[in-house]
């Protein structure tokens, strides 16, 4: 009976995995086709293999866009971690007064859709002379991701057994030692998860990047969309550009995954 249940769960997992992975696999396959083969209905599986789409993407000069995306994503993620770790500490291990209100305030900053705040943001950046500026964009991403990061991080921090912290305090650990050498190693898997999510959110962000950047600070998502051609075929070249664009995210996910596993194996949270 248990065996049967295991088989069902395994099968269901694989079905889900394939279902989620199928669009990505399709994109990668399409990126190696010519435009004519990519547009064929029904799809052609005997299409000739070509790298011409990748050549076309690099001809357009993708590198500056990738660099901008990396700067905005890594910068904002680092800033979020620097701010969210002490915030989560102050909201769980050494709770300040009115924790619930503070948490509500954090999440309330996400209530307003970005589209509703785009005009004020645009005008503020314009008056600061910070339109088309990658630092400004990275700051905005950090501010947008911070509430989610604080909420996630707090739930990880809450699982740290207070006894461990108290034991450290008895041994004379100061705040810095307590946070950096006792608590942080325990919640490292959580920190990795938060970092990964912040990185992915920033990397994929499209709306602000489209409106607030023009040339110098343009990031990858609007660059990808620019392959959409109102008067022609573009599926294959768009797939090639998108395949290149997901590589850094996959790398980041892979790194974070190793971190997650190692962190969990430490066992202190159990």
């Amino acid at each position: 009976m248990r065996r049967l249940r295991n088989v069902i769960i395994t099968t269901a997992t694989w079905v889900l995995v394939l279902l989620f992975f199928f669009p990505i696999a399709w994109m990668i396959v399409t990126s190696f086709k010519s435009e004519v083969d990519a547009a064929a209905i029904p799809p052609r599986f005997d299409a000739a293999f070509t790298l011409e789409q990748y050549a076309a993407v690099f001809d357009r000069g993708m590198t500056p866009y990738l660099v901008n995306s990396l700067m905005a994503s890594l910068g904002s993620t680092a800033l979020v971690l620097v701010l969210a770790v002490p915030a989560a500490y102050a909201l769980s291990i050494r709770p300040i007064r009115r924790v619930r209100d503070v948490l509500f305030f954090f999440i309330s900053t996400r209530f307003l859709p970005v589209a509703a705040s785009i005009l004020p943001v645009f005008f503020i950046l314009k008056s600061l002379g910070a339109l088309d500026n990658i630092t400004a964009l990275g700051l905005l991403y950090a501010v947008m991701n911070l509430p989610i990061a604080v909420w996630m991080m707090r739930s990880f921090f809450s699982e740290v057994p207070l006894e461990i912290v108290e034991a450290g305090q008895i041994d004379g650990a100061g705040l810095r030692t307590e946070l950096l050498r006792i608590v942080l190693p325990i919640v490292l898997p959580g920190v990795a998860a938060v970092a990964l999510i912040c990185f992915i959110f920033s990397w994929n962000e499209y709306f602000l990047a489209t409106i607030l950047t023009t040339f110098e600070a343009r990031t990858t998502p609007p660059f990808l969309a620019s392959f959409v051609d109102g008067r022609g075929q573009f599926l294959a070249v768009l797939s090639a550009a998108s395949t290149l664009a997901v590589l850094p995210v996959i790398t980041a996910g892979w790194i974070a995954q190793k971190q997650l596993v190692r962190g969990l194996a430490m066992g202190a949270v159990k």
Partner: protein, 448 residues
């Protein structure tokens, strides 16, 4: 312990301040040094625009000190980004690609530089060479606010081989009734008799459909801006379009727009297609089309009017907010000049010359030869359409497949969604248009 907490908070504050300062400092960094000018050009990513980017070096060579940066965007993004920039006066773009729909609105708002005199004063530029209907659509009270980079009308494209096999003959100026008969005769299980756009969107479904409505005697508004969406003529036209798609059209029509129909035609999966005239140059390219050399082209089908093609152009304009107006105008003139058309032909190939902008292009012998299949009909149709009165009755705006008021994008998108529901069989044409009438009326009342 309290001190430690404070120092943490202070550290975090410092990081924010430092980053904020860096944000402000970085902005001034990209100012041009010395007398050099950097122009930023925002454009859609159509093939002709890519060619312009490829050739911009020629302009930069002839105009030392000027660099032109291209920012290519998806059409919807371009509208959003350029509207925000131009309307707020941010001045990030020195040259913008603007559709024929926006030019009269932005010109009237004072957002675009008036180019009338600059162009007229330059005899060599020969502004009168620009196709008259296109120029009319880009002018407000006789003042011209943009120059067409390329233009298009809509034509009926058909697979001559299939017509010959079936013993059918396409007249040069067909009626919609004839087209419906041909489509029914040529429809098979794995081939559509005709491919028509069904994807909801004012620029998708409603581009061809508005021209059908107009030749059936209907229109979006009457001369007093009363909505006419539920009028008998509008209804008859939409019902005809929906029936034609149901009886002889492609499967799943609501997912089809230009690109999807192009794919269907070029792989022989459809016998006819009514859409933008620039499609002809792609269908005639053997490297991307299986039907190159087998296609025939006719005027847009009609019913009650003599001509029914649409009129669209992507245009170059100079926002009022640019700090580099002279350099920007110089580039705009270069990219829309006769010399530029020669340059494209000689370096990239004659079929890649931007069509539908200048009459003289159609007199270049090499272009006439290379584009023999579609150049004559494009010029013929583009000169024949009347953007001032495309339908049976007079209209209080200039434009064919769109109404140049800011609300039209929203009205067109919403009504297109309702009509797409009717195409997909989820509602009836009457119900869709009754709901559409209310949406259109609200926008019309603002114009009264």
């Amino acid at each position: 312990m309290l001190t430690s907490s404070r120092s943490l908070a202070a550290g975090a504050g410092l990081v924010i301040t430092a980053l904020a300062l860096a944000g402000c400092a970085g902005a001034g960094g990209d100012q041009p040094a010395g007398g050099d000018v950097t122009l930023t050009l925002a454009t859609v990513n159509n093939p002709q625009m890519k060619d312009m980017e490829e050739l911009k070096g020629e302009f930069e060579k002839d105009n030392p000190g000027i660099t032109v940066n291209f920012v290519q965007m998806e059409e919807g993004d371009l509208r959003a980004a350029v509207t925000a920039d131009v309307a707020s006066g941010a001045g990030q773009y020195d040259i913008v690609t603007v559709g024929a729909y926006e030019v009269p609105q932005w010109g009237a708002q004072g957002w675009l530089t008036d180019l009338t005199d600059v162009l007229a004063d330059d005899a060599e530029y020969d502004v009168d060479d620009i196709l008259p209907p296109v120029r009319a659509a880009l002018s407000v009270d006789g003042r011209q606010y943009a120059v067409p980079f390329y233009g298009e009308s809509s034509i009926l494209m058909y697979n001559k081989e299939l017509f010959d096999e079936a013993g059918l003959e396409m007249p040069n100026e067909p009626t919609w009734q004839e087209v419906a008969e041909f489509a029914a005769a040529l429809k098979t299980d794995d081939r559509a008799g005709i491919c028509l756009r069904g994807k909801p969107g004012w620029g998708d479904l409603f581009a061809p459909l508005t021209t059908v409505v107009q030749t059936f005697g209907g229109n979006w508004y009457d001369s007093d801006w009363n909505a006419q969406v539920d009028s008998p003529e509008f209804t008859e036209a939409v019902q005809f379009y929906v029936d034609l798609l149901a009886e002889s059209g492609q499967a799943d029509p609501v997912s089809f727009s230009f690109t999807e129909c192009l794919n269907a035609l070029s792989s022989g999966k459809a016998a006819m297609w009514y859409d933008a005239s620039v499609a002809a140059s792609i269908l005639e390219d053997p490297s991307s089309s299986e039907v190159a050399g087998k296609m025939g082209y006719a005027h847009a089908p009609v019913y009650k009017t003599e001509e029914s093609g649409w009129l669209w152009s992507w245009n170059l304009a100079v926002p009022q907010t640019t700090k580099n107006a002279d350099a920007a105008i110089a580039f705009v003139k270069w990219a829309t000049s006769k010399e530029y058309h020669q340059l494209v032909g000689e370096t990239l190939g004659w079929t890649r010359v931007p069509p539908g902008a200048r009459t003289s292009t159609y007199e270049i012998p090499e272009y006439k030869e290379a584009a023999a299949a579609f150049a004559p009909i494009t010029l013929e149709v583009m000169n024949a359409v009347n953007p001032e009165q495309p339908g049976v009755d007079p209209q209080p705006w200039v434009g064919i497949q769109y109404v140049p008021i800011p609300e039209f994008q929203d009205v067109g998108n919403q009504v297109a969604q309702l009509v797409a529901d009717a195409i997909a069989g989820r509602s009836t044409v009457e119900d869709a248009l009754a709901a559409g009438q209310k949406i259109a009326q609200a926008a019309g009342e603002k114009q009264q």
